[in-house]
């Protein structure tokens, strides 16, 4: 019985795998999408508790994803922008598009990620 579900939208397979591994170990159900378009599909299918959203991705990037998703219609889902793009302007733009938080992923260890997800699940 899984605690709850997390949707990872990330084009870098190495990172997808490690996040999946780390979060699965905590009992979360993990769905992965390689870009925003797949992300929207899975979001509507599973209504995850947390979405980890990268910005730079092919097909549909993180910005475009948020433009296409009215996050207000998903009150039970937390949208965390999890990216290596450090630009105050972009961060603000993502918040304006409905993100709950913007995090620089290069600063996060696996333990940190667990802590972050727990914050939103509880």
């Amino acid at each position: 019985m899984s605690k709850t579900s997390v949707l990872i939208i990330e084009d870098e397979i190495l990172l997808q795998d490690v996040y999946k591994l780390v979060l699965s170990s905590q009992g979360y159900t993990i769905y992965t999408a390689n870009n925003g378009q797949e992300g929207i599909h899975l979001l509507n299918l599973y209504m995850p508790k947390v979405v980890l959203l990268d910005i730079f991705m092919p097909v549909m990037d993180g910005k475009e994803f948020l433009r296409n998703v009215d996050t207000a219609l998903y009150p039970d889902t937390n949208f965390i922008v999890y990216s290596n793009l450090t630009d105050d302007g972009v961060a603000q733009e993502m918040m304006n598009l409905g993100a709950d938080r913007v995090i620089l992923k290069s600063t996060m260890t696996p333990q940190d990620l667990i802590g972050l997800i727990e914050e939103y699940v509880n």
């Binding site: 870098e12 190495l14 990172l15 490690v18 996040y19 591994l21 780390v22 170990s25 910005i55 730079f56 990216s83 290596n84 793009l85 450090t86 630009d87 302007g89 972009v90 992923k105 290069s106 600063t107 260890t109 696996p110 333990q111």
Partner: protein
């Protein structure tokens, strides 16, 4: 005098007599007898009996009565006094009261004829005398008034017939002004119809009415019989039965005449004013329109009713100056007049009519001064819209012409019918070398066209340019040789155009261009165009490059980090216990790999930060922030690292908060960076001091350590990019060499600066100065 019983009846008679009687005896006039009326009259009691008159009536001293008595006693002649005043002290208070008496001092003789005493016999006539005096006084006062008024005054008595209809009136009394005001003499006692034979019946009727009704009347009336106008107040005198009327009147004939004349001239003026083409309006002393003529209504597009009461301050005028700028009401001509009390003429003002069209007016305003007081303003104005439009059009044309000729690259000469120069433009000056001054009035042909291309003289009489007026047709564009002031010649494209005036051709415009110059210009233009294109291209490339650089920073931040992030995650899995336990050596190696990866991530971050502030897109977001909160946040963020070296920070919050205008995120990073350096380049267990001070409009934050310090030679280098100075701790300290470069750049973006004082081996103080 008898004595004894024989006296008794006499005594009684005296006592009851209706007159005051007293008897005095002897030369001192000692009182022997007084009756009660006497005592009442003089205000005394019987106590005066036996007293001499001088003692009994001390108040009479100086009034002559003692002396009268003495005389009567001595001469034996009686004295009869008629209405004589006597001042008596009636109640013994010392206050004298005037009493008037008729009296007789009658000497009393004995048988031998000797005078034994005097009998005084008096009647009090005070009331009668005073009453009469009062009447006289009133009458005098009335007379004075009657004679002093300078209005005509008379009292008349109406004469009625048997049917009680007033027929005539009689003059009872007139004052001295009467004659002057009426021209009538000696009228008292005569009837009006006698002295004014053709007197209009209405005068008699009016006064008859006053008598009958008792109501005073005030009226203005003329009398043709007298040839005068009067202003009259008529009041019935005395009781209702009285037929008398008091009449106060003033001859106003003169005033009336003036008024009539004025009224006539006003009517005349109005007729004239109404027929004027000019608009005329009359304004009151407050500047509000009272009246305006037909032309004014037409010019302003307003009816008289719409205009009345409007003043200059009314925004509906929408008035403008000549140049079209808004003209406030205070500048309107009538307002100027109201302020200065002097005429204000020749104002040009534009007004928007209610229908939206604009009318231009020339306005004159005159003050109306009465008795030194300004009572109004008369404005007159006429429509100059057409004139102004024409003038403007003319000015515009002239300006255009002027601009064209001055800026034209063509050379222009204007010559009169004699071929003399009347104008040349700057281009002509530039090309020929002749100034306008030296050319004016000289024959143009001799200046620039004196020889044929082969050098032979070219007489002016043969020059078709100069002689266009004889032909009357333009001299078409052709090539010719012209000469400069310095004698050199040049090929020119030349034409002449005659300008028709009022009487035939008046002058000719000669236009020419230096063919070589045209060629050169064309070439130059082509070259210019080419180089402009090139510049534009280069600029576009530079912009694209700059944008690419900025884009690169963003992309690099992502792409450089991603592999290192993956490494971090996987090493994190191992180190975080997600796998089987590691041997000690494995753990050590993996940790080293992880540290190295962390360093790489930090370098990437520093590189990006540095690239970012060098980018054109970088902006700092300043807000007013308490400095202490930034410093405290920076120290808190550094706490773990400081603890790891067992170092402490000494910082005292300033007593009064200091507010700074900064990007608090960036300044916090600056302080963290400096604290990190202080910590890294100090030995464990040392102390770092943070001190804040204000001076010269700046706030200084000094971060002082007791660490390895920097040599004098290297002090400035540490702020350069990628500088790392070798020192005793270099081996243990990692860094990108970008930290201080970035720090100084950020502080300078805040209009502040970072300075360092350092001594090798003793420690450093980094001072961040920010404007207050």
């Amino acid at each position: 005098m008898q004595s004894g019983s024989a006296k008794q009846p006499l005594y009684d008679l005296f006592m009851q007599a209706p007159a005051a009687i007293a008897v005095v005896r002897g030369p001192k006039h000692v009182f022997d007898f007084t009756n009660s009326l006497y005592l009442r009259l003089v205000g005394k009691t019987k106590a005066i009996h036996g007293k001499a008159v001088r003692d009994a009536f001390p108040e009479l001293k100086g009034q002559g009565f003692y002396e009268l008595l003495d005389t009567v006693y001595e001469t034996g002649e009686p004295f009869i006094g008629n209405e004589l005043p006597i001042d008596l002290d009636l109640n013994g208070s010392g206050t004298l009261t005037r009493t008037y008496v008729n009296f007789v001092y009658q000497p009393m003789k004995d048988a031998e004829g000797a005078i034994g005493g005097i009998m005084a016999h008096a009647v009090d006539v005070t009331a009668a005398v005073e009453g009469r005096l009062q009447i006289r006084e009133d009458e005098e006062r009335y007379r004075t008034l009657f004679n002093s008024i300078n209005q005509g005054f008379c009292i008349i008595e109406l004469i009625f017939d048997d049917h009680n209809v007033a027929q005539d009136y009689k003059f009872i009394e007139v004052n001295h002004v009467f004659e002057q005001q009426t021209g009538l003499k000696d009228v008292v006692g005569k009837t009006a119809r006698t002295v004014i034979p053709n007197l209009e019946d209405r005068w008699v009727e009016i006064y008859g009415q006053v008598v009958k009704t008792g109501k005073p009347l005030s009226f203005t009336e003329n009398s043709d019989a007298m040839g005068r106008w009067y202003e009259v107040d008529a009041t019935r005198l005395g009781n209702p039965k009285s037929n008398c009327v008091a009449i106060l009147f003033t001859d106003i004939t003169k005033r009336k005449t003036i008024e009539d004349t004025l009224r006539q001239s006003e009517a005349l003026n109005r007729t004239v004013i109404e027929s004027l083409e000019e608009g005329v309006s009359l304004l009151d002393a407050d500047g509000a329109i009272v009246s305006a003529n037909k032309s004014a209504q037409r010019l302003l597009g307003l009816s008289l009713e719409q205009m009345q009461g409007r003043d200059s301050s009314d925004p509906r005028w929408k008035s403008v100056h000549k140049d079209g700028s808004f003209m406030p009401g205070s500048e309107h001509a009538p307002q100027q007049v109201l302020r200065t009390k002097k005429p204000y003429n020749n104002q040009t003002m534009g007004i928007h009519k209610p229908d939206g069209s604009m009318v231009w007016l020339n306005i004159n305003a005159q003050p109306i001064i009465e008795d030194g007081e300004l009572t109004g303003v008369v404005t007159s104005f006429f429509d100059i819209t057409e004139r102004k439009n024409m003038q403007e059009e003319l000015e515009r044309q002239l300006q255009i012409t002027d601009t064209i000729t001055k800026t034209a690259s063509s050379c222009l000469f204007m010559i009169d019918n004699n071929g003399l120069v009347t104008y040349m433009n700057p281009a002509a000056t530039r090309v020929t070398g002749y100034s306008l001054q030296e050319s004016l009035g000289k024959p143009m042909h001799l200046l620039i066209h004196h020889s044929h291309p082969d050098g032979t003289p070219y007489p002016q009489s043969e020059c078709p340019l100069v002689n266009t007026y004889t032909v009357g047709a333009p001299n078409p564009l052709h090539e010719d040789i012209l000469y400069r002031k310095d004698g050199t010649s040049f090929p020119a494209l030349i034409s002449g155009t005659p300008i028709p005036g009022d009487v035939g051709i008046q002058s000719t415009v000669v236009e020419f261009r230096d063919i070589e110059e045209i060629t050169n210009t064309l070439q130059r233009n082509n070259e210019l165009e080419e180089s402009t294109l090139l510049l534009k291209e280069q600029r576009a490339q530079l912009v694209a490059l700059n944008n690419a650089k900025d884009d690169f920073i963003a992309i690099a931040s992502h792409q450089l980090r991603t592999p290192a992030t993956a490494v971090k995650q996987y090493l994190g899995l191992v180190l975080g216990g997600f796998t089987e336990p590691l041997t000690e050596v494995q753990h050590k190696y993996i940790t080293t790999a992880n540290d190295s990866n962390e360093r790489q991530l930090n370098v990437i971050t520093d590189l990006l930060k540095t690239a970012k502030i060098d980018s054109s897109r970088y902006v700092i977001r300043k807000e007013r922030t308490p400095l202490a909160s930034i410093i405290e946040a920076a120290i808190t963020d550094m706490q773990l690292e400081l603890d790891s070296r067992d170092q402490t920070v000494r910082y005292t919050t300033p007593k009064t908060p200091i507010l700074v205008m900064v990007d608090r995120v960036e300044i916090k990073l600056v302080l963290i960076n400096l604290l990190e350096n202080a910590s890294k380049y100090s030995y464990p267990q040392s102390e770092i001091t943070v001190a804040v001070s204000k001076r010269n409009g700046q706030v200084h934050i000094d971060i002082t350590d007791n660490g390895v310090g920097v040599s004098h030679d290297n002090v400035e280098k540490i702020f350069d990019k990628f500088t790392r100075i070798n020192n005793v701790l270099s081996d243990t300290v990692t860094g990108s060499g970008l930290g201080l470069y970035w720090v100084r750049k950020i502080v300078r973006l805040h209009d502040g600066d970072v300075k360092v004082i350092s001594k090798l081996g003793a420690g450093s103080t980094f001072r961040v100065s920010l404007p207050l």
